[in-house]
Symmetry: C2
Subunit: 93 residues, 2 copies
């Protein structure tokens, strides 16, 4: 019987992103729960509305998975940039 | 003293993506380790070269973090699409 290996860190991340997306029906509840620290740190009270408008590229008032991934990607880039300022970057070849 | 809450699933994912990116200096070693199941399933032996060419948008022969996120995003979209075929999708509002 084929041996089923446990998921790698990357596979687990992809599974989690799908699970989190499925869990939160509302952008606001996602931001106030999963990214509460980020959300509370924002000085501009309208920041979530601005973000939703920018992310909702097809203007249907909803975040589909592709738009949700753009949100995660943007946050990951911001985290990575601040990580690089603390630690010199290594490039992949 | 401010209470430090444990990271949410989304925060942990973003941390993991940065850690995995930092860990693998070579695209091929990443694909053969973190995405071994995906890589082994590919019939076309040239698939990794095609992927690298497509991902390496600035043509510097390396995957920077933004290009890496595009890879993860593409894989997550494919996983999510097959997930939707199995389970009807719910949209966020």
């Amino acid at each position: 019987m084929a041996k089923i290996s446990s998921p790698t860190e990357t596979e687990r991340c992809i599974e989690s992103l799908i699970a989190v997306f499925q869990k939160y029906m509302k952008f606001l509840s996602f931001m106030n729960t999963e990214l509460a620290a980020f959300t509370k740190n924002q000085k501009d009270p309208g920041v979530l509305d601005h973000m939703m408008k920018k992310l909702d590229t097809n203007r249907d008032g909803q975040l589909d998975f592709s738009e949700f991934l753009n949100l995660i990607g943007g946050l990951a880039m911001a985290c990575h940039d601040s990580f690089l300022k603390a630690v010199p970057s290594q490039k992949r070849t």
